[in-house]
């Protein structure tokens, strides 16, 4: 049994034009010690996937509907009461977000925000929690943590804020950490430091990590398995090394081709995938990528391919080209 099993997850939102399915049948597993990447352009459903696992959308107004299963240690956390879910959040599954400035509450000190998380899940005094918070900040490499614990988010630098955010996520030693584009808003040098820290968490504490990113370099360097998402569906998944060397789905191929390398001809314009990610409400019955695909046939416009094994073991692709 995997630590986290996502089975056929479907998330729909209520909009003015009716229910829109943002993620359509996503399945994957995350094991202990494992670092899995979810790749895709903006608007592909990466963040919705992670926030659905955590159930971060307010459910009181029935604006969101979930289908499928999310099994954490075998327990379906997708359908337990919303209040029960709060016990898992932060404690078993934690999350770090892209923009730490927007994600930390501006009117509370970082220390208070970590202390709050600690005291929700652990029975400890305020003083103990404060010491623990300072320790956590130290661990994430914040210098002068005893002083910074009383700083407000706006008083810290970008990198420091992301470290504080990670300290907050780690406060209760979760078994799974979801990192939603943790380095996108940071300088390149700090990006590397933060990534290194996340990789160490995975190795040292055996934390299962879901890394959401559109930085293929980071994925190639650190992850074993990856899933490529397009418009709410997984279009290709498998071992990172094989997938990056021999991408199968036209979308994956396009993504990899779009990354400049040292061999890229500087005089030619960089390769791009035609068009943009269409709106969810415009998705038809056919393959969701067909409008932008160079290989699209008549069939692609009427019928949606399913995710099927192709090539090496564990390598799945959603494309008629490989049937």
């Amino acid at each position: 049994m995997s630590l986290l099993e996502v089975k056929n997850l479907k998330t729909s939102f209520k909009t003015l034009r009716g229910m829109v399915t943002a993620i359509d049948g996503v399945s994957f597993n995350v094991d202990k010690d494992e670092m899995v990447a979810i790749i895709g352009e903006s608007g592909c459903g990466k963040s919705v996937t992670s926030q659905s696992i955590m159930r971060l959308y307010p459910e009181t107004d029935q604006s969101v509907e979930y289908e499928g299963e999310v099994l954490f240690n075998g327990e379906d956390i997708l359908h337990i009461p919303f209040k029960e879910m709060a016990k898992h959040r932060g404690n078993d599954i934690a999350m770090i977000f892209q923009d730490a400035l927007a994600s930390l509450n501006p009117v509370f000190t970082v220390g208070d925000q970590i202390i709050e998380a600690l005291r929700i899940h652990k029975k400890i005094t305020k003083k103990e929690a404060r010491e623990e918070a300072i320790k956590l900040l130290e661990q994430t490499g914040i210098p002068d943590a005893a002083k910074r614990v009383d700083a407000y988010p706006h008083e810290l630098s970008g990198g420091m804020r992301q470290r504080a955010m990670i300290a907050l996520a780690l406060s209760c030693r979760p078994q799974i950490l979801i990192a939603d584009e943790p380095t996108t808003a940071l300088d390149v040098t700090i990006q590397a430091q933060i990534m290194e820290m996340i990789v160490n968490l995975n190795k040292e504490y055996g934390m299962g990590i879901i890394l959401i990113t559109h930085d293929l370099g980071v994925v190639a360097q650190h992850c074993k398995r990856a899933m490529v998402m397009y418009l709410g569906q997984i279009v290709e998944e498998g071992d990172v090394e094989t997938m990056f060397k021999h991408p199968m789905h036209p979308y994956t191929k396009g993504l990899i081709k779009s990354v400049p390398t040292t061999k890229t001809d500087k005089d030619k314009p960089l390769y791009t995938i035609n068009g943009v990610v269409p709106k969810l409400s415009e998705a038809g019955d056919g393959c969701r990528f067909c409008d932008r695909c160079e290989h699209a046939t008549e069939r692609c416009f009427h019928e949606c391919p399913s995710l099927k094994a192709a090539g090496e073991e564990g390598h799945n692709v959603r494309c008629f080209l490989y049937e």
Binding site: P58, A86, H88, M95, S103, N105, F108, I120, H154
Partner: protein
């Protein structure tokens, strides 16, 4: 924080100086001659001149201004042209009911408005939210005097639990005092409550959509704490602003309600003085109202600083 406060305080003083200049010029250029007003239309030019000299009105305007300011700083606002009473005594007498009325009205407005706004934001998309928004619209649309008359009809005339009109000072017993102000406070407070509800609702909706609310949820904070601690603290700035504004408005703008409930307040004093052209009282009353505005604004600024650490350091950079 000290620097921020110092800056605010300096602005306050500056505002007050500007108010006095403006006030002085206003009465000065209005063309009304206090000497003529005091002596009546039948006075001889010589008598008027003599009166002008006696009042010091023959001096240059800047001398008059500084002597006025000097008197002001000594607590002397002059004497009413009409009644033989000191303006400062009159102002104190008429200010008390207005202050009491404003405080109770604002309390009613905040106690009703803030929770209603929070509930409306929390129940977005549900029937209860629509009901609150309808009530708010009604509250904003009904003029205060109409509401006052309705309240008077039901609670004073029909079931007779509150007096029809009149004001009882707190020295005449707290119970009586409160009883005399319940209806006018409601008449004034309910429309302010509607305003506060709207502001609270929109501020809360915005905050509830922000990323840090997601973070709070992601670390396992329950929905109640998210609403009342994480969201409300961040929504406080617009709420404090609107509460401050509505409180200030209650000081100068309660004439109609004061008249209906026969309360001799500041609004009534100003109204009567304008009809009598009793400029020394108008000057004094406007000054008091301006002072109230300035003090409330200062208070609002202090609350901003306490509320939001980002504002507190505003003076640092």
């Amino acid at each position: 924080m000290a620097k921020y406060m110092g800056k605010r305080f300096l602005f306050t003083i500056l505002t007050l100086i500007l108010v006095t200049i403006f006030l002085f010029l206003l009465t000065h250029v209005s063309g009304a001659d206090p000497a003529k007003i005091m002596l009546g239309t039948n006075a001889t030019p010589e008598a008027v001149e003599a009166m002008r000299a006696k009042l010091g009105l023959d001096r240059p305007w800047y001398v008059q201004y500084f002597s006025w300011i000097s008197d002001l700083l000594h607590g002397d606002l002059g004497t009413s042209y009409y009644r033989d009473e000191k303006v400062s005594d009159l102002l104190v007498k008429y200010f008390k009911p207005t202050l009491a009325l404003a405080i109770y009205s604002e309390l009613i407005a905040i106690i009703i408005g803030v929770p209603m706004g929070i509930m409306q934001a929390k129940n977005k998309g549900k029937a209860s939210s629509v009901i609150i928004s309808t009530i708010t619209l009604i509250g904003l649309s009904i003029p205060g005097f109409l509401l006052g008359l309705f309240l008077m009809f039901f609670f004073s005339v029909k079931i007779k639990i509150f007096p029809v009109s009149g004001y009882k000072a707190i020295t005449e017993g707290f119970g009586e005092h409160i009883k005399s102000l319940v209806l006018p406070s409601l008449a004034l407070g309910l429309s302010q409550a509607a305003l506060i509800t709207r502001t609270t609702n929109s501020a809360m909706l915005e905050v509830l959509n922000s990323e840090y609310i997601k973070t709070a949820r992601a670390k396992g904070v329950n929905e109640k704490t998210i609403l009342w601690k994480h969201a409300l603290r961040n929504a406080m700035i617009p709420i404090i602003t609107v509460c401050g504004q509505s409180f200030a408005v209650l000081f100068g703008g309660a004439v109609v309600i004061e008249t209906i409930f026969n309360i001799s307040g500041l609004g009534t004093l100003v109204y009567n003085s304008i009809s009598n052209r009793d400029y020394s009282i108008i000057q004094g009353a406007v000054l008091v109202i301006a002072l109230v505005y300035v003090v409330i604004n200062l208070l609002v600024d202090v609350l901003y600083g306490i509320e939001d650490p980002r504002i507190r350091v505003g003076g640092k950079k």
